[in-house]
């Protein structure tokens, strides 16, 4: 893909990946903070491009938010270091958690997230939605205020749904859907880290398919789906992956959600489960709204419009769609 030929970008990718690894594997808060900062500084060159004004705006916004969040993180960990004798663990944890929530773009500090997504290309969106969330989530799991985070994740689900309900821009919609999934991720983090790994892996996989497909056919808004000449299998892949992302039962996306629901119920967290399931119901409605009208009901076939997709990409897409269609069935074989 495009970034592979640019040596600068390769360097920044390297630092992006390793900064995350630094922050999640360091044994002091200061090391975590250093990782976060390197992460920010390596992501900004990736998202800027001199030709596109929106990218520059997005990178500026990203810089502002992501610098304020680690500053507060640094401030709170230093405060915690100073006041170690005091007994305010709840409030400290809320402070640290808040700065991390700001960093990963969760409720109630999510306002930057859709705005910045709007200005990014699809591949950067993918990185922002998946990789950039690893280090804040892992750091969150180190020092988590359960009561605070429970409320936050319920609101994540609700706001994710409500925000994506009326959306025309697919990038914003995916941003809100990412906020919605953030709630699931936090709950899985609350239960156990291995379930979080599973969920995060499957979520990134599905998001990756969506982003690559949208990148290939170059769509950013729902109405672009109406007048795009797609072949049948591509349409079906889009449909399957959206439904899988929404968590429709026989598909792969349901599998991770199923595990989380199962563990939540086993731990007697019925209210959270209720909100999660209800929000994912409406999330599915939102996805189906995209698919149904644009890919099933109405589509124009322009004679003068040819959408050319490289053959090997089609192969990749089909392979990924196969996994997302039948991954749950395959994965059951591992547990036999």
């Amino acid at each position: 893909m495009l970034f592979m030929i640019n040596s600068n970008k390769m360097f920044f990718f390297f630092t992006l990946f390793f900064s995350t690894l630094i922050s999640i594997s360091s044994n002091s808060w200061l090391g975590c903070w250093i990782g976060l900062e390197i992460n920010l500084l390596s992501f900004i060159p990736l998202i800027t491009s001199p030709n596109n004004l929106l990218n520059s705006e997005a990178s500026l916004k990203y810089f502002l938010t992501q610098s304020i969040a680690p500053i507060n993180f640094l401030f709170s960990i230093l405060l915690k270091l100073l006041m170690l004798n005091f007994f305010f663990h709840d409030l400290f944890s809320i402070m640290i958690n808040s700065s991390l929530l700001m960093k990963m773009g969760s409720i109630p500090f999510h306002f930057w997230f859709p705005n910045i997504m709007e200005g990014l290309s699809w591949l950067n969106c993918f990185i922002l939605m998946t990789w950039q969330k690893i280090s804040p989530l892992i750091l969150l799991s180190y020092y988590m205020n359960i009561n605070f985070i429970s409320i936050i994740m319920i609101f994540n689900c609700i706001i994710g749904v409500i925000g994506s309900f009326n959306q025309n821009s697919i990038r914003k919609l995916m941003a809100f859907s990412s906020i919605n999934n953030l709630g699931w991720m936090m709950s899985s983090l609350m239960i156990s880290e291995s379930i979080w790994k599973l969920f995060f892996f499957l979520y990134s996989f599905l998001i990756m398919i969506m982003c690559i497909m949208s990148y290939l056919i170059n769509i950013f808004f729902i109405n672009q789906l109406f007048n795009i000449n797609l072949n049948f299998f591509f349409k079906i892949s889009i449909m399957i992956n959206f439904l899988s992302l929404g968590g429709l039962p026989p598909l792969l996306g349901f599998f991770s959600k199923w595990m989380i629901i199962n563990f939540l119920i086993m731990n007697n967290m019925f209210l959270i489960t209720f909100f999660f399931i209800m929000s994912s119901l409406i999330m599915i409605f939102v996805y189906i709204r995209i698919i149904y009208s644009s890919l099933l009901s109405y589509s124009f076939k322009f004679k003068w419009f040819k959408n050319f997709i490289k053959y090997n990409y089609i192969m990749i897409i089909n392979f990924f769609s196969l996994i997302s269609l039948s991954g749950m069935i395959f994965s059951t074989f591992f547990f036999i």
């Binding site: 709170s76 006041m83 402070m95 306002f111 859709p114 409500i162 309900f165």
Partner: protein, 578 residues
Amino acid sequence: MHQKFSICFISFFFLFFFMLMNLFMMIYFIISNLTIMIEWEIISFNSISIVMSILLDWMSLLFMMFVLLISSSVIYWKKSYMSSEINLNRFIILVIMFVLSMILLIISPNIISILLGWDGLGLISYCLVIYYQNVKSYNAGMLTALSNRIGDVMILMVIAWMLNYGSWNYIYYLMFMKNDFFMNVISIMIILAAMTKSAQIPFSSWLPAAMAAPTPVSALVHSSTLVTAGVYLLIRFNLLLEDMFMLKILLLFSGLTMMMAGISANYEYDLKKIIALSTLSQLGLMMSILSMGYGDLAFFHLLTHAMFKALLFMCAGVLIHMMNDNQDIRMMGGLSIFIPVTSLCFNISNMALCGIPFLAGFYSKDLILEVTMMSNLNMMVLYLYYFSTGLTMFYTIRLMMYLMINDFNLMSVYNLYDEDYIMLKSMMILLFMSLISGSMLSWMIFCYPYMIFMSLNMKLMVIYVSLMGGMMGWLVSKMNIYSVNKFLMMYNLNMFFTLMWFMPNLSVYGFNYYILSFSKNLYKNIDMGWSELFSGYGMFNLIKNYSLISMIYQMNNFKIYLFSFVFWMLLIMLMILV
């Protein structure tokens, strides 16, 4: 070569061949008193085994033989009757599937495989009733299918209840589990199922409606297959049902069915409907003697009745063919002059139906009535039996007078022909059988004869009521246009009798009206009203409005987000410090 072996002939050949095989096997089984049971265990889990089992004894073989004989001759007859039919193959295949599902029902001692045959009968009878695709047929077919569906559901529930015993081979539990409460529940359900299939009183409106089917199907359905399935099931369950209270209720209902059908047949002018109602009457007779505990007599009458009833329907089919597809008996008349052979068959089968001595019906019907007279009964049941016997004679004589004696009323120029030898040949088989089957069976299936001992007047009671009925039938057939006005004097009573004691209203109009209007109210108030407001449309609006509000927050200045975050952190820090 291709023309010579039509599908009718091939099916006839195979069915007849199997009939002969069954005949010889049956004779062998009777002589050596043999019963063969074949079991194939399909699956077994948690101490429950689902087996496919086949029971071959003289009863199932004999019944199968009769079914095959009637179906083979009907199919052979159909070659002429349905000669101008386009979808003849479909029709034949449907009929053969019908016969096969009946055979599956006959040979299975297992309630699951009985359900297979039972459901097959219901489904294919629906397909056959709606064969002539018009609205009347659709209505009749739906009525038939839904009435039979009640029986299907009962059998399904029996399957569920029999899960307790670990196996569905009911034949082992009939004696052993007789005093079990569950077995009583099962027997009640079985009786209800049999009542739907054999069209006993609450469910009997489908039987005349099913006359919308083609005539060969009626011949098959009403003689040996569909309607006798219920009787056969009860004969199989007879060991269990003895001394049960439910059986007394069945006795009352079947006696009433007998009388209701007899009376309604006198009011009817449709040829096929008269014969259908006479079938209903005979079914009532079988059911009532069955519910008195004489299963073998019911079986005997079932078989003989099958023979002459199939013949009667085939003759009716020939008549309808000749009458320009007209079924109204007022249009017919004087047929014995024009078509003597068909009239011969018709009259003999009708006479056998009334039980004229030494025809098929005599042996079974007379025996049943005498056994009834000898057993310990109350007056009402006895009246029902004998009144219905008289009524049988009544409508039979009426039908014969209408058909055979008067002038031909259909057209002024007509040409009736009695030389359709395909039809006549197949009718001859059944004619022969309806002459001899009564005596043959009575010698064959009873190990020792029934001992009848009664006074002369009691013995002659059957003849009294028959003569009286015949007299009445003759008088009624003399009715002309002026005496129709006499019916108007008791209009309500006549409507009551004509509409089968308002039975169709019970199962169709009365039922549908309330359910449909309730459904309409539900649709209007729930589906289009509250439910729409609170679930579909209302929810959408609610979330859409929230989404708009959240969009307004989204449109805020970027500084405010950052400030609010910092403010929040400051707030918490203050809480720590203070």
